[in-house]
């Protein structure tokens, strides 16, 4: 009797799970459990009339209704923020497929139940898209070195856990449905040393795999790691003191730069002329060569400007030690960024690699010179915000040239004045680079920025990197991708050219349903990233995601992933601000909330007219939209510098979901009363897990201390009447008045409260690429306005309070 060959498509899913999904973190629990017949808890109502009206609005088949669809009355229920962090939505598949499915931190979809037709998607009024973080640092990654990589013959999809094996010799692709043959070598499983079970091979048991590509995938020898550092050394730059930080960080991490024995490194400095450094092995000291013809830059020597890291090690160390002092007495105030970039492009063209540009002012000389476009009086204007797009095409063209030569340009902007980031950022956006901004950087006046730069450089120089990469995203037949968001160059309608790939960038795509998906019950997506590792190996990282297809509007809402939707809307809003106007983008964001909630209303019958009902899956949607409207990128009415606004917009487009949600909606914790209840154990340490608070000043009290986690910075606000025990045990000062204005460290004191607090803060800082700096704020500290601007539920210059926003939405829906 033939063994049933393992992996056919799973049976069609019955309605929904009967057990509530595991993430019932809502705090409508405990005290207000309703009659035992209902599985859901009842919201607190002031009278029984409202209670019966809302019960009437719930559908008859209560026990079948999925958790995501449970109606939530937003205006009544003031505490919608769950105590524990919101977890990604788990797609509604059978347990076996759920286990195999891709990790949502790597690959997630805005709607975990894919609508069957474009008409259904349009009715739902929610965007359909994918958010990826393909090169994320992973602790467990199966690496496959087999000589044959099994791919579908027509669509070239890599074999993945969601294909079906028709019998032992044939498999059916889940993207194009073509039947392919299983090659002989694939029948043998090297892990279990068994033969005849292709479905047990690691490629078919893991949704995220990495293949080592054979020589078919490389038509030029893989490039070595090449790093070029371009440094601004004008008077402004030397004043700010960043050269010290840079040299120290690079000296410390010189051994840890990703690469092998072929790694090359070079340096270019510029002010009103461009300077190169001859680091040829054998010279007694580095030799500086100055090119002053900036209208037609040329390379002074054909080689030895980019040298092998190991051979010229001493010379490089000498140069780095001398660099901060070389330009001490410079009187140059101009910055010829354009010519420096052109020269560096010539230098890196033969091999490709990474350029790291450090700029401290507006480029004022040579090609690509920019003028100051910001009008300081317009910073808080509520009418049009101008100059969000580039002033010149120079940087965009240069970025395309760099992308063609596999060069990525990363930008570090360390300026205190307006530097037209909107134009300069183009150099990184289209060459797959990343952008870092340190406003008002100064090594004496702004020590926290210096610390941030130091920690960021440490991560930047030592993190994993991939060169000359391309990425392709494939979807099941019937779905197609139309718009891409992120830093890359779109080479073809489905192929992205990424000169460099790094573990900290995220990408998003928008999809549409071209043909009806009526004949399948599952939609699959595969993202394949082909890159050269820093050791010169050609590798392919493949992620595969599988989601169910549904045909009813209510099911679409049940599977909505509100965080993914918010991040995708943020990217779309940034695009709209640049092509149309900022107020258009703001209106579009508010309309997204209004349209989706009013479309949901039409699926629920017997609603009372004066309530704003949202499905449980979208209960945080108006809150996140309000948070987006109060972000630096989109806010009006509050004074926002143009560079900071543009930088925030760049972040929205290129950060992965987890980090972006922390920027949009920071987490607020009360930390003067940390208890061991609900704490978790990590590496033998007990980390307390205080509940999340809503971002409203009514949650702050004078006799408490609160910690706000904003992604790149942590604020610890201490109330005036905070218990002295907390101040002395955790902060190390006798009382509130003794606290200094600028405190950025938690001292290591030997008492349980201090240990618990430090454990919590370091747990927050782990798993994160950018090191967040801690600021301890007492009243009247300069960082206080920043802290209070993040309390988005309050009414501010830049917008309505949360309650007023809900009323506005309700008004628009019932109009």
């Amino acid at each position: 009797m033939a063994k049933p060959f393992g992996y056919g498509y799973p049976a069609l899913q019955p309605g929904y799970q009967n057990t509530p999904s595991p993430q019932a973190h809502s705090n409508l629990l405990s005290s207000n459990v309703g009659p035992s017949g209902f599985q859901q808890s009842i919201q607190p109502y002031s009278n029984t009339d409202q209670l019966s009206a809302s019960l009437g609005g719930l559908s008859l088949h209560q026990s079948q209704q999925p958790e995501g669809l449970r109606p939530v009355n937003l205006i009544q229920d003031r505490n919608i923020l769950p105590h524990a962090p919101v977890t990604p939505v788990v797609p509604n598949l059978n347990p076996q497929m759920k286990k195999l499915n891709c990790n949502p931190d790597l690959f997630r979809c805005t709607l975990t139940n894919i609508p069957q037709t474009q008409g259904l998607l349009n009715k739902a009024k929610l965007p359909l898209g994918l958010l990826l973080h393909p090169f994320r640092d992973l602790t467990q990654l199966p690496v496959i070195t087999s000589s044959t990589i099994v791919r579908c013959r027509s669509c070239r999809t890599y074999i993945n856990p969601f294909v079906s094996f028709l019998d032992q010799k044939r498999w059916k692709c889940n993207i194009c449905y073509r039947v392919n043959d299983v090659p002989e070598e694939f029948m043998y499983n090297p892990l279990t040393r068994s033969y005849g079970e292709p479905h047990k091979r690691p490629e078919v048991q893991n949704a995220t795999v990495e293949f080592i590509a054979s020589s078919d995938y490389m038509l030029r020898p893989p490039q070595p790691a090449v790093y070029l550092f371009i440094l601004d050394v004008s008077h402004n730059a030397v004043e700010s003191g960043y050269l010290n930080t840079f040299s120290q960080s690079l000296l410390e991490t010189l051994d840890k730069l990703p690469g092998d024995s072929r790694t090359k490194i070079g340096f270019v400095t510029f002010d009103s002329t461009v300077h190169f450094y001859n680091l040829q092995e054998g010279l007694s000291q580095p030799q500086m060569l100055i090119v002053s013809d900036i209208d037609d830059v040329f390379l002074p020597t054909p080689d030895s400007l980019l040298v092998n890291l190991h051979e010229s090690r001493e010379l490089i160390t000498d140069l780095l030690k001398a660099l901060p002092n070389m330009f001490c007495s410079t009187r140059e105030t101009h910055s010829a960024l354009g010519p420096a970039l052109q020269a560096s492009f010539k230098l890196l063209s033969p091999t490709g690699g990474r350029m790291s540009v450090f700029q401290t002012q507006l480029p004022s000389l040579g090609a690509g010179l920019l003028h100051s476009r910001e009008d300081p009086n317009q910073r808080s204007s509520t009418k049009g915000i101008q100059h969000l797009g580039p002033a010149t095409d120079f940087y965009k063209k240069l970025a395309l040239d760099c992308s063609g030569q596999q060069i990525a340009v990363d930008l570090f902007l360390l300026s205190s004045q307006y530097s037209d980031l909107a134009s300069i950022a183009c150099i990184s956006k289209y060459s797959a680079g990343c952008i870092y901004y340190y406003p008002s950087f100064h090594h004496i006046h702004n020590v926290s920025q210096t610390e941030r730069l130091q920690k960021d450089l440490k991560r930047y120089l030592t993190r994993k990197i991939g060169f000359e990469a391309v990425m392709r995203i494939r979807c099941t037949r019937g779905l197609s991708i139309h718009t891409f968001h992120g830093n890359f160059f779109v080479r073809s309608t489905d192929l992205l050219a990424l000169a460099n790939i790094n573990p900290d960038s995220g990408y998003a795509v928008q999809m549409s349903v071209d043909e009806s998906l009526a004949d399948t019950s599952l939609a699959c997506f595969q993202a394949a990233l082909l890159y050269t590792s820093s050791k010169g190996e050609r590798r392919i990282r493949v992620h595969t995601l599988c989601l169910p297809v549904v045909h009813s509007l209510a099911d679409v809402y049940a599977g909505a992933d509100v965080q993914a939707i918010t991040c995708l809307l943020a990217s779309m809003g940034v695009d709209r601000s640049v092509t149309a106007s900022l107020s258009d983008a703001r209106d579009a964001l508010v309309n997204a909330a209004i349209d989706s909630l009013s479309a949901y209303r039409s699926t629920v019958s017997n609603l009372q007219q004066s309530a704003l009902i949202a499905p449980h899956s979208l209960r945080l949607f108006p809150l996140y939209i309000l948070a987006l409207l109060k972000q630096k990128a989109f806010r009006t009415g509050t004074s926002t510098r143009l560079d900071e606004r543009v930088f925030d917009m760049c972040e929205m487009k290129c950060q992965p979901v987890a980090h972006l949600m922390r920027l949009i909606h920071p987490s607020l914790y009360r930390i003067d009363r940390l208890s061991d209840e609900a704490s978790i154990h990590v590496n033998d340490k007990v980390v307390p897990q205080p509940p999340l608070q809503q971002l409203s000043s009514e949650k702050l009290t004078r006799d408490g201390a609160f910690l706000m986690d904003c992604g790149v910075v942590l604020y610890l606000w201490v109330g005036k009447n905070c218990k002295e025990a907390f101040i002395s045990e955790v902060l190390g000062y006798p009382n509130y008045a003794a606290l200094p204005m600028k405190l950025t460290q938690l001292p290591e004191l030997d008492n349980p409260l201090s240990e618990k607090t430090r454990a919590f803060v370091s747990w927050l800082r782990e798993n994160r690429c950018l090191y967040p700096v801690l600021h301890v704020i007492k009243d009247e500290a300069p960082a206080k306005t920043e802290f209070f601007q993040h309390l988005i539920e309050d009414r501010m210059d830049s917008g309505l309070s949360y309650y007023e926003f809900l009323l506005h939405i309700q008004q628009q829906i019932t109009k």
Binding site: L219, R220, S403, G404, V470, H482, R491, A580
Partner: protein, 160 residues
């Protein structure tokens, strides 16, 4: 054979319509070339081909941008000529296209500035689909109007 002003207009428009047909055909080829990359997937991974691909896209976008104004102004010239020659039927047939051109040129683009043909944003499947459909429709229109002008020219020339 009366060589009236109307006949002269039709003769000129025959010649220029040939140019418009050529532009439309070139548009169709350009969008097809933008859509398809190198056929062999292995070649697509070849880093050396990236530069050629980037150059190709830039070249095509540059030419697309250069062709917008000549096409619109030739068609505008037609409308003015037929107005002066008092050929109302022909003018009426051309005016929808003229309004379409005005709309395309002046509208504030809500989603994508299709007329700017920016190399970094042009590779959007929606934009390419729309532009390709537009190019086919225009080709059909220009071909039909070419034969119509030919007929009108001959009829004008052969009336006394």
């Amino acid at each position: 054979m009366a060589f009236t002003f109307a006949a002269f207009c039709y003769m000129l428009s025959l010649v220029l319509c040939a140019a418009l047909i050529f532009f439309a055909i070139w548009h169709i080829i350009a969008f097809d070339e933008l859509r398809t990359d190198f056929k062999n997937p292995i070649d697509q991974c070849n880093p050396a081909h990236t530069r050629e691909r980037v150059r190709n896209i830039e070249r095509i976008c540059y030419l697309l941008r250069r062709l917008v104004l000549p096409e619109y102004s030739i068609h505008g010239l037609f409308c003015i000529m037929f107005l002066c020659a008092q050929e109302w039927l022909t003018l009426g047939l051309n005016s929808p296209l003229m309004f379409y051109h005005l709309w395309r040129f002046f509208r504030s683009p809500a989603d994508s500035s299709e007329l700017h043909y920016d190399p970094v944003t042009v590779m959007n499947a929606d934009t390419l689909n729309y532009c390709q459909k537009e190019a086919w429709c225009k080709l059909a229109f220009y071909l039909l109007s070419f034969f119509y002008y030919l007929y009108c020219y001959i009829s004008k020339m052969s009336t006394a």
